[in-house]
């Protein structure tokens, strides 16, 4: 009888754009401001901020319900062929193909429920595939609080919104925050976008 394989440990990545003042969506939850950063220079290989390369490695996505509803409003679901797990406190009827609702319940702790979700997802991942915690701020924050983020890949847009949905909502602070980060990459991308990549687990 074959010995059971050790549990796969998939890298959990946050890959997201924010304005310099820290917003990932405007006050109406819209991300239309992102459009002006699409590289339309007509170059043969427009700068996609490493998205294609990153997306290639993604085995599954996790998002909050608000992000799901936002993306669902687009013409096409952009993550076909990869399973997206949608966090919600209530059941969502009529889920799109390649999406699954993960209901957050009153107990056990949210941290434990998220760890269970990750373990569940890891069963279906191929070697080297990562899990993309796509957004929004509340979902990312929950994963940060649970110490479940390995990499933060943040694209700082050269603009300010003044208000909107923050990437990092203000919370009470405390010991569960991943406070020490290691800057592993700093890149100037097209249109004045600064890419800051952090390893949260390095010592």
């Amino acid at each position: 009888m074959a010995t059971q394989a050790a549990p796969r440990k998939a890298k959990i990545t946050v890959y997201i754009a924010q304005t310099l003042d820290g917003f990932i969506a405007d006050s109406n939850g819209k991300v239309t401001f992102l459009e002006s950063y699409e590289d339309t220079t007509g170059e043969e290989k427009p700068d996609d901020c490493g998205y294609a390369e990153f997306y290639e490695t993604v085995g599954a996505l996790i998002m909050g319900r608000t992000s799901y509803e936002l993306v669902r409003g687009f013409a096409d679901w952009p993550y076909k062929g990869k399973m997206s797990y949608v966090l919600s406190t209530s059941v969502i009827d009529d889920m799109l193909p390649d999406t699954k609702c993960f209901q957050i319940k009153g107990q056990p702790s949210v941290d434990e429920q998220l760890r269970n979700l990750i373990a569940e997802i890891e069963k279906d991942l191929k070697e080297g595939q990562c899990i993309w915690v796509m957004g929004g701020g509340v979902t990312i924050d929950a994963f940060l609080k649970a110490n479940l983020v390995d990499e933060l890949d943040i694209f700082v847009l050269p603009m300010m919104l003044g208000s909107g949905v923050p990437l990092f909502p203000v919370r009470g602070g405390g010991a569960s925050i991943q406070s020490k980060l290691t800057l592993t990459r700093l890149e100037k991308r097209a249109k004045g976008i600064a890419r800051l990549t952090y390893d949260t687990k390095a010592k």
Copy 2:
């Protein structure tokens, strides 16, 4: 009779450190977390994040009252020989040498009062000297709203606080925000600090 010199136009700079999650001080208004980023590598020239070079060009400082009280609590006033203007809604008694209270009144608009302050300061500046809007978030925000900031020089520390005093407080948005920025410098400094410099006036 000599013609009157054209009004001097001093560059107005925000030079400040923030955590990755956007805080410039902790929930108690303290900046003790900055201490762990002092370069103590023992190098002959430790990385000061360009501070000495920048400070050399500073002709005057502007700060809010909270920042003033914070810095005043240090062993020595660190800005001797340069005039610091302290914004406050009330009169501050017993000002330190090289500091002056600038009282914000009910009228005219805050924007106009800040423009008047700048014009007043510029009279005493030497050619090429800049004005450093030192902090905190409320003061910086007021200058941003009044379109009075030329350069944002931000040092992103590789850490998160979870809560504290934000560099960019959430406000209502609107037309007065300097929303378009030009990334002019992106540098990796000592201890994983990322320096992001923006020109707010470039087209």
